[in-house]
Symmetry: C2
Subunit: 393 residues, 2 copies
């Protein structure tokens, strides 16, 4: 696992503040073994909430339940387990998820529809619901206050190599974001889960609008391996205890946290050794720019080339040209790496740039307009194959 040395600059910085009115509970329910596999966050007062979910049409049961509960708008608790995703488990799995929500609600004294569930792990096996309900029993007396979000981030990890969290202060309020994903010890998909907690006062409608616009340029611009999890979820809860804050400042802080987490998720992609950011600019419209950038960041031949520093810019051209629908004028394309363009005579210098940097920045100018888009990915290594091929569930 020598590949997995990640510089401190890419990892989470200690939280110097947390939003008031949130409490956390972390435990091992013994879903598969005795490691941490369950985390709960409770808000002292019902929180305004918004969420976005996976676009995969095969959705996990917790996603289906969460989609229903978020419609009630206010959320009081989020419960997350690892080791079993409760996906493709039918009506039984749906009922199991509802039972877990009920157990939390009856312990804590609020409506079951105010519990937001997530699960990540292997697909197609029944979740051990009795074990989880037993682990939940009495959790209310053991809630940590102030909330231990660093511990929560740790508890929901699978093969993430470090816990992922970030924070910003906005006036008297604080926003904390937590994320997991991109590597798993046992299960099988890079489920991306992310949660934002804030004590700012902001309506569910405003939160929803902010979340929808933020995910486009952050989480939805992230790709580790082109595979879309059946459990992906981003949730934001605002309990209002710090009062109202400047909306613009809040949006900016929220966007910054989302981007910070997105970059961590990309850098910690399965087997990855590099963060790879691709910006396509001077393009006809943002949709085309994103499509081209995704085609580059997802190309196995580009991802392998940057892994060991093959200065093979032909593969970039190939990836641009294969983008569906988009109009490409090959003669107008200009490529820059880390802000610099390289001629065929300077390929050794380009190889050096690729080899020595842990973050690679590719900029492609299409010459067809004025729009731009940036996406976040990583390189493709033997370790990715090993992580996903050798471990048999």
């Amino acid at each position: 696992m020598e590949n997995k040395t990640i510089s401190a600059g890419f990892k989470s910085k200690k939280l110097t503040a947390v939003p008031r009115g949130f409490r956390t509970f972390i435990t091992s329910a013994g879903i598969k073994d005795n490691t941490l596999d369950l985390g709960i966050v409770v808000s002292d007062v019902p929180a305004a909430a918004a969420a976005v979910f996976t676009r995969n049409q095969v959705k996990g049961n917790p996603v289906l339940v969460g989609m229903k509960h978020i419609k009630g708008s206010k959320i009081s608790a989020v419960v997350v387990n690892s080791k079993n995703s409760n996906v493709a488990t039918g009506k039984q799995g749906y009922d199991d998820c509802v039972r877990i929500c009920n157990a939390i609600a009856s312990e804590a004294g609020f409506l079951p529809t105010r519990v937001f569930p997530s699960s990540t792990g292997v697909i197609g096996r029944r979740i051990p619901v009795e074990k989880i309900i037993a682990a939940i029993k009495g959790f209310r007396q053991r809630l940590k206050n102030p909330a231990d979000f660093e511990g929560f981030a740790q508890a929901i990890m699978t093969t993430d190599t470090f816990p992922k969290f970030a924070m910003r202060k906005v006036g008297k309020a604080t926003i904390v974001g937590v994320a997991k994903g991109s590597g798993m010890i046992e299960p099988n998909m890079a489920t991306m889960l992310s949660y934002f907690f804030t004590d700012a006062k902001i309506s569910g409608t405003a939160l929803d609008k902010l979340l929808q616009s933020t995910v486009q340029s952050t989480f939805n611009s992230l790709s580790v391996d082109t595979d879309t999890s059946t459990s992906d979820t981003v949730l934001v809860m605002a309990n209002g205890l710090a009062g109202e804050v400047n909306a613009k400042a809040f949006a900016k802080a929220f966007q910054e946290i989302a981007l910070e987490l997105t970059r961590m998720l990309a850098r910690d992609g399965e087997g990855a050794t590099k963060l790879f950011t691709v910006t396509v600019k001077d393009c006809a419209n943002p949709k085309q720019a994103k499509a081209i950038a995704k085609s580059i960041v997802n190309s196995p031949l580009v991802k392998t080339a940057i892994y060991k520093g093959d200065p093979n810019w032909g593969r970039i051209f190939m990836a641009i040209g294969k983008t569906p629908v988009v109009k490409v004028i090959p003669e107008k394309i200009k490529i820059r790496w880390g802000g610099k363009s390289y001629t065929n005579d300077q390929l050794p210098q380009l190889a050096k740039y690729l080899q020595k940097n842990e973050e690679l920045e590719l900029e492609v100018s299409m010459g067809t307009g004025k729009s731009a888009w940036t996406v976040y990915g990583c390189d493709y290594t033997e370790e990715y194959v090993k992580i996903n091929a050798y471990y048999t569930t």
Copy 2:
């Protein structure tokens, strides 16, 4: 390279007949070193011809020239070089390609527009046109008759691990198909080149129709790594010297050769250890069936799972569900491997099936209609990463 042991059943069978009236020339032009890098096939009489080309919008100069020449309908010679693809080389590269066609035409005494060029290799470097023209000089006196198509297949290989050819007899006529692709020692893309030669008498229009319909279920249903080459080309030449043949029998034989070559290309995919065929059936329409099958065959998590035999059917569900646009009803999906369905209790047996077979057959029933489609791919291995990451051009 232990992974690359390929059973004889997947390789080319010796050609027991060749179409009359074709001659071949094979040499090393020294484009990069002294290995074979140039092959020419000449028809004694102008041949009816049809071709399909890469959909990549960044097209190689030989593709651009070939698209123009094929419009004249009759083709007398095809010239193929490896080690340099003459892509992204601008007007200079286009002129270089035309000069090569001119040199062949003036040696052989026919119009330059009757020469069909192909190149495969590294992108973005000027092709050494003087070396190629020197190698062509006097080739007419050295043409082999009858044509040595096995040698031609060998000459256009890059890191293919075996030459790829197949034949069928149709009445008095013979069809030979030759293909290369999926592995390269030096260059950087799995350029797929395929050529069909026949002495059957058939019009260019009929050939074109047949080729268009055949490629859909064969070459266009093949995916090694989702990357679309800038040089992909399939050409068919019919010189008519064996007279007319039954059209249905010809179409069937043509389709069979195309499928045989497609399966060889998939099995010999870069670093591959298995041929992976995916059939999606009981689907709303063929387009949806193909989209779902491609989503499965291209999923890195599915491709790594089958490599070492992880019986992880959840990844298949994930790949089905992420297919864009297509309507999926998760409850109706049924999966069979090698004609058999496996329950969660039978996962060890499924692991065994995956591990011991060199060809894996996955069948997915969608329960949404009556259409089906089959695609051809391979597994994802550490060797794929090694082939594409470590070699620096």
